[in-house]
């Protein structure tokens, strides 16, 4: 090969190389992740085509979920009030803490199986998972921060621009991308490996009180807490008189219809042993408190659900068996999965089997 030819070839290679460097890495795409629907479950309602899951998007979402800069005083993150060991509720708190010693007005629900949920909050006021984080970020009694300020903090960070680039193709940081990345992480929070699930799959069997409890559950509870998600996602008035200070009208605040007064979303009972206290305002500190409410303490009004209008008779025996059954809904592999844990915890690999 003579000299001019060599120079031409080298020149072409250099030019192409420069082209690759300046071309915004269009050819290095994030790695797609498949979403697995557990066997026998309905199809999810989340539209994955609008927000395809990728390893980079999920990793970014997790970093954002645990980033304290979402709050005005940089002290707490989404994960502060949604703690993995409580199935992502605020463990052992009726109401959660916001900035400046404020309190929320409702109990922080556990976060799992969100891909199947159409509307969010106890009143169903938020109609898309991607939009949900806006409410706690901006609420004065939660994170109290403006989204513009959060975006500013993330832009000033050394690592975020490259993480957004890896997940979305360029380094732009916008709320659209923050919301999508957070959703990608939250959609991973699938809880489908409790003892109940393993019994249903034929991999385990109930002990006697669990089996008896399951039978009682199917007679008395599945009208609202429908399997396999253990909620039908409806809004119901369960005869809980409004707290005089909170004065929370529930679903009525969203629809403006008096027929929706004191209606709240039916919560899932998965991981229920870990998500105490219970109720939209966390007024019941134990399962026993909930059972006592249903059998003795209901305050029915015109909107109270027909299934509960006359109370829900439960004997002490039934309460015992039901409790045994409800404990089988605890998914310890979900509660301990290092993929969901705060940064610096575990090795990031899902446990092979921790049902021992």
């Amino acid at each position: 090969m003579n000299l001019p030819k060599t120079i031409t070839v080298l020149g072409a290679i250099v030019l192409t190389g420069i082209g690759w460097m300046v071309a915004d890495n269009r050819y290095f795409k994030p790695r797609p992740v498949a979403f697995t629907v557990p066997k026998g479950w309905p199809q999810p309602v989340y539209d994955f085509s609008k927000n395809p899951l990728t390893e980079e998007g999920i990793a970014l979402g997790k970093k954002l979920f645990y980033d304290t800069r979402f709050s005005k005083d940089n002290t707490f993150s989404c994960g502060s009030c949604h703690q993995q060991f409580g199935a992502f509720n605020t463990y052992d708190h009726n109401l959660s803490h916001g900035i400046n010693n404020s309190l929320t007005t409702r109990n922080a629900p556990g976060l799992f199986n969100l891909a199947w949920q159409k509307a969010f909050m106890w009143d169903g006021g938020i109609n898309h998972l991607d939009l949900q984080p806006l409410a706690p970020i901006t609420a004065e009694n939660e994170m109290g921060e403006s989204v513009e300020a959060v975006i500013g903090k993330l832009r000033a960070d050394k690592t975020y621009p490259s993480l957004f680039k890896a997940a979305f193709g360029d380094a732009t940081i916008s709320y659209l991308r923050i919301g999508k990345a957070l959703s990608q992480f939250m959609l991973q929070l699938v809880s489908s490996n409790s003892k109940y699930d393993r019994v249903m799959r034929g991999e385990a069997s109930f002990i006697l009180p669990e089996r008896l409890g399951y039978e009682i559950f199917r007679q008395k509870c599945t009208g609202c807490h429908t399997e396999p998600l253990f909620t039908d996602f409806s809004y119901r008035n369960t005869g809980m008189a409004a707290d005089r200070m909170l004065n929370d009208a529930g679903r009525m605040k969203i629809t403006g219809s008096s027929g929706d007064s004191l209606k709240f979303r039916v919560p899932s009972l998965r991981n229920v042993a870990m998500t105490f206290p219970y109720g939209h305002d966390g007024r019941f500190f134990s399962l026993l408190g909930v059972f006592e409410h249903y059998r003795k303490n209901l305050v029915p009004d015109n909107n109270t659900d027909p299934l509960l209008k006359n109370g829900l008779p439960l004997s002490n025996y039934e309460i015992g068996q039901l409790t045994a059954f409800l404990y089988t809904l605890t998914d310890s592999s979900f509660l301990n999965d290092p993929r969901f844990a705060p940064p610096g915890y575990g090795n990031g690999k899902p446990p092979v089997d921790i049902h021992r």
């Binding site: 030019l15 006021g125 991607d130």
Partner: protein, 240 residues
């Protein structure tokens, strides 16, 4: 020869080379020029006016969405224009001129929606004019504020003598999107002046007394009534 082939191959994989999309055929441009007024007087933020009910009002914010533009030609065919969402803001002069590309010679009517259709209210985070950060979005009860009017009035009995009307809600029976059709007079025109009279906000169908109702911040019957009033704000310049 090998060198040439190598260079050609390198050029083929060169990321700078990509297909260019064909340019769109140009169409007639028409400008909608929105003139905000209180009765006959042009609106100036911070100035005081007497509204149609006799309340003295000072306006600080006046913003609304327009979307889903369509035109009808002289033979009555309606053509929907490419979907766009415009946030008109009194404080942003450029937002008060809306340029539309119209594939029609003589326009009989022009039609648009005040507000944002329900599809965009239920499709997650949007960008551009619909970015939730534009201050026209409710986070706790998902949905767009279709129109916003804020100011003060001696008639108001609340703090700062203020009134704040945030009109939104996309669910039946309290949906607040409204359609407006304006005659364009079969003209071959490239400019259409549209008067937007804030007086109608207070009276078009239902009287809105600042003393009685200084605030509307959620979907419902009141928002829906005010939305009916808002639909009467728009008229052609020739027919004020």
């Amino acid at each position: 020869m090998h060198t040439l082939i190598l260079i050609l191959l390198l050029l083929l994989v060169h990321p700078g080379i990509q297909e260019k999309t064909a340019l769109q055929r140009p169409v007639q441009k028409i400008r909608l020029v929105l003139q905000h007024r209180v009765g006959r007087e042009p609106l100036v933020l911070g100035n005081s006016y007497r509204n149609v009910l006799g309340d003295t009002i000072t306006i600080y914010k006046f913003k609304y969405y327009l979307s889903n533009f369509a035109v009808t030609d002289s033979s009555g065919n309606t053509v929907r224009l490419p979907l766009q969402y415009r946030l008109v803001d009194e404080a942003d002069a450029a937002s008060k001129t809306i340029e539309l590309s119209v594939p029609v010679d003589r326009i009989r009517d022009i039609r648009f929606m005040i507000g944002v259709d329900s599809t965009r209210n239920v499709s997650g985070i949007q960008e551009g004019a619909l970015d939730p950060l534009k201050g026209m979005f409710w986070t706790w009860n998902t949905g767009y504020i279709m129109a916003k009017l804020e100011g003060s009035s001696p008639s108001s009995k609340i703090a700062m003598q203020s009134f704040t009307y945030h009109i939104g809600g996309y669910r039946a029976p309290y949906a607040t999107m409204r359609w407006v059709t304006l005659p364009a007079g079969n003209r071959n025109t490239n400019k259409l002046a549209v008067v937007v009279d804030i007086n109608q906000w207070f009276k078009h169908k239902t009287a809105l007394s600042i003393a009685k109702t200084p605030v509307c911040h959620s979907p419902g019957e009141l928002a829906s009534q005010i939305a009916d009033n808002i639909s009467g704000m728009f008229s052609n310049d020739s027919n004020p």
